[in-house]
């Protein structure tokens, strides 16, 4: 087990490093002219000393690999560089935007989970068949409506027409409900789809038939085994849902004009502030990888069937990112990762 954890941690670090390198190549190295553009921008004059500072900081007078090493060193010190437009440290900008986005995404995740649970249970246990089929068709519906459309409709009907929730972010919890519901509906789609499919599969298993044959009611069977077995794929999906939450928060924050990481991203994009954009990508990737790491580490405890014995040692299935540590490791037969074991009809963006 320790070996698995260490290996999995090593994978996570390697993936992060590779992802950073990719984002560096995409956003820093190729358009190295972003800083030059800024210096030569006639609209926003910059003093020669400041220009020299910028060039020295980004190492633009040095070869690419030195710039890369330098940026890696900065990164390890928690320094993400400076915004080209405002001159503020990127880490500070992201730090300021993060709490608002975290509040939004956590509430959205909660709403998404509740929606998924309600839809999943209704799709299988509702007393009327029309309700069951309606509930089954809700997740594909949710998945087909773009986030910005959901956001605009909620904003229009609940803020401007009914005046139930404030239309701008006034810092209250009430202002959070609109955007969080928007985002919650977005991630409820895959979660509910998985949950509905998983309940359907679990209900076919023999232990459920045995329970029912013994005279247990559907409710008892659900509570005793179906729920926990069907919740497992949903846990797996949580890791992937983080990516969707990040993407969704960009759109949601734009629609609701909420300050946060999403709006920071859109502003950075519109002003071509590449250091800020790169910082956002790095932070989002760290969050994404860490959550998936957590899911993979927790998973064997949730589902003991996933541990198996090989070469006399207890080994666990590989995680979401099967980044094996060397060619040696490749000789092992590749195990299905929890993510890949999801039901086939699940659609993840």
């Amino acid at each position: 087990m320790t070996r698995y954890i260490v290996e999995r941690l090593g994978q996570a670090v390697l993936v992060l490093w590779a992802a950073y390198t990719l984002s560096f190549l995409l956003l820093s190295a190729l358009p190295g002219d972003a800083v030059n553009n800024r210096i030569q921008n006639p609209d926003q004059q910059i003093s020669p000393e400041a220009a020299a500072d910028l060039i020295a900081y980004y190492g633009l007078d040095q070869p690419l690999w030195q710039q890369y090493l330098q940026s890696l060193q900065h990164l390890l010190q928690g320094d993400l560089g400076f915004s080209i437009t405002t001159g503020l440290p990127v880490a500070e900008l992201i730090g300021a935007a993060l709490p608002s986005t975290l509040a939004l995404t956590s509430l959205a995740l909660l709403i998404g989970l509740v929606l998924a649970a309600v839809i999943g249970v209704a799709a299988h246990y509702a007393p009327w068949s029309w309700l069951r089929s309606a509930a089954t068709s809700v997740p594909p519906m949710f998945g087909a409506v773009p986030t910005f459309v959901v956001g605009i409709l909620i904003l229009q009907y609940f803020s401007f027409t009914l005046h139930v929730i404030p239309s701008t972010d006034d810092g209250t919890f009430l202002a959070l409900i609109g955007p969080a519901t928007t985002l919650g509906i977005l991630i409820a789609a895959p979660l509910a789809q998985v949950f509905v499919a998983a309940i359907g599969q679990t209900r076919k298993q023999s232990f459920v038939h045995v329970l029912l044959a013994w005279g247990a009611g559907q409710r008892y069977a659900f509570g005793r085994g179906v729920l926990r077995n069907s919740a497992l794929p949903v846990v797996t999906l949580l890791g992937l849902a983080v990516g969707e939450l990040i993407a969704g928060s960009v759109v949601t924050e734009a629609v609701f004009a909420r300050p946060g990481i999403g709006q920071l991203t859109v502003t950075a994009v519109n002003t071509q502030d590449l250091p800020v954009l790169q910082g956002v990508v790095v932070v989002a990737t760290v969050a994404f990888v860490l959550v998936n790491l957590a899911v993979d580490l927790v998973y064997p405890f949730l589902d003991p069937r996933l541990s198996y014995v090989q070469d006399g040692r207890t080994r666990v299935r590989a995680g979401l990112f099967g980044l094996w540590l060397g060619p040696l490791a490749r000789r092992r037969s590749r195990q299905v990762t929890p993510t890949e074991a999801l039901p086939a009809e699940v659609v993840m963006p």
């Binding site: 993936v15 992060l16 590779a18 992802a19 990719l22 984002s23 995409l26 956003l27 190729l30 358009p31 002219d33 972003a34 553009n37 594909p140 519906m141 998945g143 087909a144 409506v145 773009p146 986030t147 910005f148 459309v149 605009i152 409709l153 229009q156 401007f160 983080v242 990516g243 990040i246 993407a247 960009v250 759109v251 734009a254 991203t265 859109v266 994009v269 519109n270 071509q272 590449l274 954009l277 790169q278 956002v280 990508v281 989002a284 990737t285 994404f288 990888v289 998936n292 990112f321 099967g322 980044l323 060619p327 490749r330 086939a344 009809e345 659609v347 963006p349």
Partner: protein
């Protein structure tokens, strides 16, 4: 089994009953196909469906509500919204198809390379795919768009579509690789190798036909996603640029007047939802057929 029985009883009864039976069974499939067909015809021959020019400004007819003359009403500049939605189908669907085409081509090439050659090639390609999948894909797509606009100073539908396609190609690479591995281990490929077939012949005759089904199902799913993503990028100002009609852009435009003139938002939004819903339905149907 049960469907066969039902169909036999239906076939035994009157033609009306048969028709009703199929109607009941396949009405959703028919509706979805019809919506997709209409959207595709809009994209291919927009001129047939509307007499109005989507870019023609008409100050006398600003912000008219939907009527017999202007089915979806008119916008701030007096442009006919229905014709903008019809012409927008071309941008939105072409963007989505371009994205999926990029994803299929890049992803299949990488996946086939990794699966067929194995060893170091497989290792390098699949680790790269893992890294791409570890970056939240919407942010990756945004980064590619920004990179393009920083390089060229322009942004538009094509870079947005390519960005969406490139981020989706990792999924195709994984799929194709696993399909190739499956086929490679089969007896008939072994037989082909022993009887002296060339690698390219084996790829052409065995690997590609076998991988085609799953690829098409994934591609169908990805078309729906790509429509949403490209509309979202355009909505954020990163895709198609005004005054070009594009569905996401139309919603973004209409949004400013939603309080008093909600048709400007509602019709383009409903169009996106209907098309994506139909595409997704067809994709699910295709996948079910493939699994049988």
């Amino acid at each position: 089994m049960s469907t066969a029985v039902v169909e036999k009883t239906a076939a035994a009864s009157s033609p009306t009953a048969v028709a009703l039976h199929y109607l009941r069974r396949y009405w959703a499939l028919g509706l979805a196909s019809a919506v997709v067909l209409v959207a595709l015809s809009w994209a291919v021959l927009p001129g047939v469906f509307t007499a109005y020019d989507p870019l023609a400004v008409n100050q006398a007819q600003r912000l008219l509500p939907p009527s017999g003359e202007h089915w979806f009403g008119t916008d701030l500049l007096g442009r006919d919204l229905y014709s903008r939605v019809v012409y927008g189908a071309r941008a939105s669907l072409a963007g989505a198809f371009l994205a999926v085409a990029v994803a299929v081509v890049v992803g299949s090439a990488l996946g086939a390379l990794a699966g067929w050659f194995g060893g170091v090639v497989d290792h390098v390609v699949m680790r790269a795919v893992d890294v791409v999948l570890s970056i939240p894909s919407f942010l990756l797509a945004i980064s590619v768009v920004v990179l393009y606009s920083a390089k060229t100073g322009t942004s538009g539908l094509v870079p947005a579509a390519i960005a969406v396609g490139l981020t989706a190609s990792a999924k195709f690479a994984r799929l194709i690789r696993s399909e190739v591995l499956k086929v490679r281990a089969s007896n008939y490929v072994e037989a082909a190798v022993t009887s002296g077939s060339s690698t390219s012949a084996i790829l052409r005759r065995h690997v590609i036909p076998n991988a085609l089904g799953p690829t098409i199902s994934l591609a169908a799913v990805e078309v729906g996603l790509a429509i949403i993503w490209i509309a979202s990028l355009s909505f954020l100002g990163l895709g198609a640029q005004p005054p070009d009609p594009e569905w996401g852009l139309l919603v973004a435009d209409g949004r400013k007047y939603i309080a008093t003139r909600d048709w400007l938002t509602v019709y383009p939004a409903l169009t996106i939802v209907a098309v994506v819903l139909s595409v997704n339905y067809l994709a699910r149907h295709l996948r079910k057929r493939n699994e049988l």
